[in-house]
Symmetry: D2
Subunit: 335 residues, 4 copies
């Protein structure tokens, strides 16, 4: 249920509605908008009777919310969310490219790649310090040492950094060192991690799970928002499907549907969808043409020596060429 | 196995290689290229010994073909196939848009829509006369009467027409009235139909099956080519997958992979992938940005009255707006 | 819509209802049951007003049929269909095992295998004469010669035979030589073939399509019944899914759901689901325990020499051992 | 690489091999078997040269392990693992049924259901205290209070208990109160949780992920074993697939394949696969017929009042009837 107030409703009227919601045992979530305030009712186990609110002063409408998600839905917030980051914005008309290696391997490697992707126009550097790997015997990342390298990259280049957290412990560290906290596909329904990310003060990049429906994905974002962190960036990275010509099946229809259902921005990771270098540029172009708010792309200066995912990493000059193509496809709003 | 001849090999030398292949009980498929001729060996149940050919005069190389497809593969023909149609070409750098209703319902309807899509830049009119429907009680199309209406549309407007054949009987009629024979997703592995399409003199639009791998799809095309019809246009239309936000999952990675594996052109059907009107423009833009050779789009002037698939048909003015966007995304090569 | 007549309704009353249905432009399908007659209304494009029938003499109820399938649904026929075949029955409590090679390769091969599977308890011999193959260069079957071998097997052993039809031409031949007409997974939505099978006088074994939903499968059966052939045996053979440990994912939940939704019998093909020999016995046992009405299993006396599907064919002694296990799991009703 | 020692190899010889492995920078994992000892080489980034070990005294063979999993594989341990629990065993020929509600709701509810499932033959009581829910607004479980109720159930009835852990914090509590630690489908690749479960002293029930391949699932188990906990029970619960007649697609082929690839036991959860009560008994029977080592089934005495998953919970009398059927299907080895 969403209680929409009159345009000229007073603070006292808004407070009275919130107080009534709380008195009923639910949680009130006021959402001040450009023109008027709406108040979401959360934690109600079943439908709420609109009549309880419609006769209160200053109340304009009581809209039953049919979607299971509330805070992430358009019904709660009509305007696109714009994610504010130091020196740039993402969402609405602001378009951002994140790029870097799959894993931070050394300061030399990270700085070399960071300077190359920055020269080509990337604004955020990606690189994993905690790597969730299918095998316990695979390279697991540099952990806090990797985070320190990322912080060094930011210091040296001015690029912002994004990196993945995989458990409560790493989340605390990532929130400390990184500008954006990434939650990976395997953890999309790690609800404890989502709640902790919701208590963090940094924006969260939430990847779609391996076989998640759109609703499950938005509900995962809802976990983060329901804990008080409104800065969530969704990231489509393909789902598991039949066929072997690409690693995952990039589902670009999520872009317009997310934009219709939710006010959150959505970016695309063509590298993990492709799984092979030659498919990254066409999928990146397609994602931009479909209207995404940004891209996150793997780039490595020596992919054949990469400790993970080398086969899908672009060479720096390929990345630079791709960036030129993308700027033609989408002339405005580049951050 | 592919026998590649010297650049200056004589006809007699080529004939001798073909004769040897036939003498071994296989089928020889000479493929004259721009610079040199290659001869494919078909119907060999197992590997063929290259030594049998390497010492023949005029033979340059004997290349074992690792892919199960031969005629459709790049190894057999390096240059992109260009499909010649009356007054236009499709493939390589020639880009074509096909548009029209799901089903031909009446001459009035067909002509009205045809004129609208033509004005917006479409060159080929689509419309089903034989409709494969999940239910025996659903509208099944106008059959030959529908084909006559398509012929009338061509006569009145100059647009070419494409329509679906569903069995041997309808194939014969479609080949007679239509400029392009469409084989639908449900019939992608109707091998009898594929063979008959391979014996037709019209180009074939071959849609990808509901859950076909890329290899199965190319092998279906191989059936058509192996019967002597080299003019096949592949059409990606999404595969069945989890999730409910779109009808099928459009797999745009097939575009670069088909272009790498095969010399055949590939177009995209965003309408059947989307299943809902609002997703058609972003998916169409994405397909163009990913490098497809054309699009086939459902348009209806009164979609709410359409006898089938109304929900995914664009209004004519939406189609016109989309065409303008597409021309910006892909400035050259429009037919 | 289903018009249910009173228990003591007269023929004249039944005829009057049918005449009214026809007068409305629909098709009336009378279904005489044990206690009373019901009349289905087919080919109605939309809902029919029950009031049109409720005041007619002898009419008890007018039930709107919510399922898209009618003739195959339980609402139309409450009792299980029993398929009558020469000398045996399938469905309700009669359980039948069909077995034999993937393809009929020669009279010697067919007879050798037939005698082995008969000795182990199979009642119907399977073997393909028309093989739908992914590649045009693969073994395509013996065609009519194979059908003659099947007829010879029946003559020599008394086993009934089942074999696949792939197009109108082969359907006519299969209907002539075989006791059961098989429609394969790739042709489940070959509607022309389904209609022709519906006009045949032999029972039809209808395999589930590669990625067909249960509803699509039942609608395919509806095509056959709507043409007048009520003898359809459904066959679950697994659907395409992720994972590589088996060829297809056998979906045994279809057994209880088909039994709930439809009166048609359902058998299981563990061989095509497994794709490898060692998985066939456990899947066959599981299918029987889940309540299927029969099995169709590939057996070859020399699988390593089989022209197709050798890897999934049981050796005759494995098949005999499996039959003993199955008889313990399901003691009664064996045909 | 697996170093297999001679039958009469001495401890000193075994130690020398282990020391050499460690000297190379890898981890040695001695596995004493019935007849001879094998020593696994773990954490080697690439292939290891067998010649390094073959000339050492007491070494019989050096087997390159082709599977990515080692400790869970048959190559490492030929005999089936038997999971020892207080008063019962699971695996090899010991068959165990676990049953109870989706969530522990109250002591009254838990005890009532526990007594009913115990009377019908269940040996382990299931019930969630920490519920991973798609929505942050859904019932999340009683947490530690639920665990105390489970401990009370064990005390009162003698049943063992199994319950799910969802994060490091709940894992510690579950390991304290419960007899078996369950890792749910959504956490199958929560590698931090897997490592912690590998350090616990209780057996682990590891459910297959929503869209996990068999290899990924076994690799998840490998995480647990590689930390020192050899007592892992795999649990097949269906994967996400197309079709709507059941919630997930139960993949019974995993039973024989797991038994071939791994020494670990595998049980089946028909309740979460079915998603609806009427499908649970046929799927449970099928799982037993396919050879599983146990079942975990949801039972509720008042499913219509259940706080979660009521629609798939059996009534106690249905469960008792099912247990009788299962005992006929699988006469021996019941614990």
């Amino acid at each position: 249920m969403l209680i929409v107030m009159d345009k000229d409703a007073t603070s006292a009227q808004i407070d009275a509605v919130a107080a009534k919601i709380e008195a009923l045992g639910y949680v009130a979530q006021p959402m001040p908008g450009g023109e008027r305030t709406a108040i979401g009712i959360l934690r109600n186990p079943g439908p709420v009777d609109p009549a309880l609110f419609l006769d209160m002063p200053g109340v304009s409408q009581a809209i039953p919310v049919s979607r299971p998600y509330k805070l992430v839905g358009r019904e709660m917030q009509r305007e696109d969310t714009v994610i504010s980051l130091p020196g740039l914005e993402l969402g609405r008309d602001r378009f951002v490219v994140m790029a870097g290696p799959c894993a931070v391997e050394s300061e030399t490697q990270a700085l070399a790649i960071a300077r190359m992707v920055q020269a080509a126009g990337a604004k955020i550097f990606r690189g994993g310090a905690f790597k969730p790997r299918t095998s316990p015997y695979s390279y697991q990342g540099l952990a806090e040492e990797g985070l320190k390298i990322l912080a060094k990259v930011r210091e040296e280049t001015g690029l912002l950094v994004v990196t993945e957290a995989v458990d409560p412990c790493s989340l605390e560290l990532v929130a400390k060192y990184s500008d954006i906290i990434q939650i990976g596909a395997r953890n999309m329904q790690n609800f404890t991690l989502l709640r902790l990310a919701g208590q963090a003060t940094k924006p969260v990049l939430l990847k779609r799970g391996m076989s998640a429906t759109l609703e499950e994905w938005l509900m995962a974002a809802e976990y983060i928002l329901s804990e008080g962190n409104p800065r969530v960036i969704l990231c489509e990275r393909g789902i598991r499907a039949i066929g072997e010509h690409a690693r995952n099946l990039l589902d670009l229809a999520t872009i317009p549907v997310v934009h219709k259902e939710s006010h959150l921005p959505i970016i695309v990771d063509p590298s993990h969808a492709a799984g092979r270098r030659d498919l990254v540029p066409p999928l990146a172009r397609a994602a931009v043409a479909a209207g995404c708010d940004g891209l996150i792309i793997e780039v490595h200066h020596e992919p054949e020596k990469a400790l993970s995912d080398g086969a899908q990493s672009l060479y720096p000059n390929q990345f630079a060429g791709l960036m030129e193509e993308l700027q033609k496809l989408r002339p405005g709003g580049w951050q």
